[in-house]
Symmetry: C2
Subunit: 503 residues, 2 copies
Amino acid sequence: MGSEAGSRSSLTKPFDPEEFRKHAHRMVDFIADYHRDIENFPVQSQVEPGYLQKLLPENAPDEPESLDDILADVQSKIVPGVTHWQSPNFYGYYPSNGSTAGFLGEMLSGGFNIIGFSWITSPAATELEIIVMDWLGKLLKLPNEFLSSGKGGGVIQGTASEAVLVVMLAARKRAVEKLTKEQGISEFEALAKLVAYTSDQAHSCVNKASQIAGISIENLRLIPTDVSTNYAMSSKVLANTLANDVKAGLVPFFLCGVIGSTSSAAVDPLSELGDLAQEYGMWFHVDGAYAGNACICPEFRPYLNGVEKADSFDMNPHKWLLTNFDCSTLWVKNPSLLVDALSTNPVFLRNKQSDNNLVVDYKDWQIPLGRRFRSLKLWMVLRMYGSNGLRSYITNHCNLAKHFEELLRTDSRFEVVAPRVFSLVCFRLKSPANDADNSCSLSAKLVDALNSDGNILITNTVLGGRYTIRFTVGASRTELRHVDAAWKVIQQLASKLLKECSS
Amino acid sequence: MGSEAGSRSSLTKPFDPEEFRKHAHRMVDFIADYHRDIENFPVQSQVEPGYLQKLLPENAPDEPESLDDILADVQSKIVPGVTHWQSPNFYGYYPSNGSTAGFLGEMLSGGFNIIGFSWITSPAATELEIIVMDWLGKLLKLPNEFLSSGKGGGVIQGTASEAVLVVMLAARKRAVEKLTKEQGISEFEALAKLVAYTSDQAHSCVNKASQIAGISIENLRLIPTDVSTNYAMSSKVLANTLANDVKAGLVPFFLCGVIGSTSSAAVDPLSELGDLAQEYGMWFHVDGAYAGNACICPEFRPYLNGVEKADSFDMNPHKWLLTNFDCSTLWVKNPSLLVDALSTNPVFLRNKQSDNNLVVDYKDWQIPLGRRFRSLKLWMVLRMYGSNGLRSYITNHCNLAKHFEELLRTDSRFEVVAPRVFSLVCFRLKSPANDADNSCSLSAKLVDALNSDGNILITNTVLGGRYTIRFTVGASRTELRHVDAAWKVIQQLASKLLKECSS
């Protein structure tokens, strides 16, 4: 029997090393073949809601099934329902860029399968995280106050949503304690006064964090932006809002600035925001989920100026630094405020090292208790590509986006609707002269047509009240030829739509 | 050059299929060898705090390094800092039981590397999750109201901490809306009245969820337990507490019952708790993080009776159902209450299928936005072991624990301090007659000695005010011979300690 036939045999033990070896090699080949063939699939899955229920049994099997049978089902039933985020033709949202190194790091983490909530549960997991967060912080030229050598520290969260939530909870705790002490009011009266600030371009996770933290929806200020600042927050508008709120007896406690907004990669004026945060005693968080990554390149680092005035900064290497999802890197200047807000010390987790404050226990820096050994993948990415390799990777994407923007400008049927700073291009298909009321909603139709066609995937947003197409270069394997091919299919489908619209 | 020498070459592209194939095969062998050799390492890592900083450079490298160099570092610098949760000699906490199938599912998820926040981002991810949560729900004989066919539904969370948080947030939202409407008070006045209930044996995540949800620490009732109920919550004590709170103008809104408490695997009287929850209009959540898994076996299912009165139920297949961490399975009867509390609908995520309510978007059932394709690993575990295989797996652990308990009872120096129900045994090393004040704290010394010795790992808790040793059989590869060897080393070290103590 060959090795393939061999894997028809079912598993006899839960984690036998030799059965593991054989089956895992088989899975490596399956995944490698998937990546080899990935451009054969429509990027956006074309299935209809409910498709899978028709294909799978109603109950789990009683007896073991073979890996070959399962992989056959993956190929015929699962893959058609997958939207191929790793395709070089994926230009939607902000990408999830995987890599060989990131994948290997995840494998190794899965191989150890430890739960690193406290230092004692696997010292290497905590200590490697401290070290790689310092490494990455240095690549970003974060001030020393954010690093472990400067009383700050980094922690890997799952997502930017969790990062903004934990810092908001730390800010809430600090603000409530101050108010109850100074004004002799209850914690709930204090909570009612707290106001959080961000721009209307900030990610919805700020809104979600506020909901969870119990901040009234009326006390979340989404500072309006417009084209005059390229959709960045105006510190003048923010200053006015703050002054009015304080006059009304409210208490500003949290400000989230953005570098690289989700809709158009807008960059808030961090330094001015930092000054206002300091003036009003607010926690200042900087969300750089996507564009923060670019700041490892000297040409982009200036966009991060002002971060030295922040209390916390977060970005997602899983978006644009080749680290497989999930990996969101959060640095804080004062980790003890996180611990104050999030620690629990049940008897069943007590140990000498924690009791004596000799170690970091990351359980107190996050929402969940358990945590994977995620630092391994970030460590492997940093080592296997090197910081120069990672810089080239980012720069190359930005150059490809610039190239795409130039192509757009050669075709007068399109308009670029926000300045391109990083690797995101926002554009529209202009309505023809005889369609002044935009009844054809051409851009929306173009997005639908492109995603149904399957050659590329793009997504949409609204900017300045108008439907906008987003084209992000950021998949790991996107090359010049892919961008050129994407432009060709965009032009073709646009021509078809314009013809239908004018007929 | 052989394949090993070949992997000295560094990566040239971020995700080249053939480079991936070569390097991933190398990693499979590394991990298989680790598992083959796992019993050679001390189970509990023996490093000192700060060990790793001395071994790694201060900065990320500029240029790429080879996989072989990295794996050499893993072996010499990381592995000594790993506490080997996958060792068959791991009896601490509740285990994190990995398996070949769970690992393969994680690999495949990492291979696709999709972000499944909305149905449209990979329909298979959402639909497979719905299906396997129904499969597992049926194995547990959950009432139909928890399944997708009965208007309920399941969702995979990362951890039980997240599960209890999201249901508490749903309960908070419902309770606050009711109070503001009925009593004409503000949302903060309503929040101040809310009281949550659980036992003093519940996991610390209930405490943490309350903190996050803004429930005052004075309004979290940890109902005291004692040996008279084997550390289960007394519904009588709960009923008295509820009556007093209501008399004081407070509003009970959330009750968490436990099947398999962390300290001693105590089981709360779910049915009686459910009746009280209904009487007071509370959300009733059942946390079965560890022992819930056992309820796929007919002999253990009676412990789950009463779950039909619950609003939500959660357990962790990553603890005891061979699914690699993280995988916490939460079922709710009314998912729309989760969505009410957690949904955001930013313009940049809008799509036809979501707008038309044709699909489930799991982003609104959880804290983070992004989510991995975790259903793959649960699906593969259910298929590759089959439900009969999984039942045998659980039963075998419980039999091994029973065997260990019997060994303990043969040695009068030890006492079993709580009845064993599942695979956890709680015991103490009795103090000798001349040490009535327990000055030797023999049990604590025994745990320290065992973990320093390295042959096995065990952990501790406090029960009824007394230090207690916990011995959980639950690692995937633990066999009878391991338990017998563990008992031997426990006896040996106990003899040594008793000798020292009496001398």
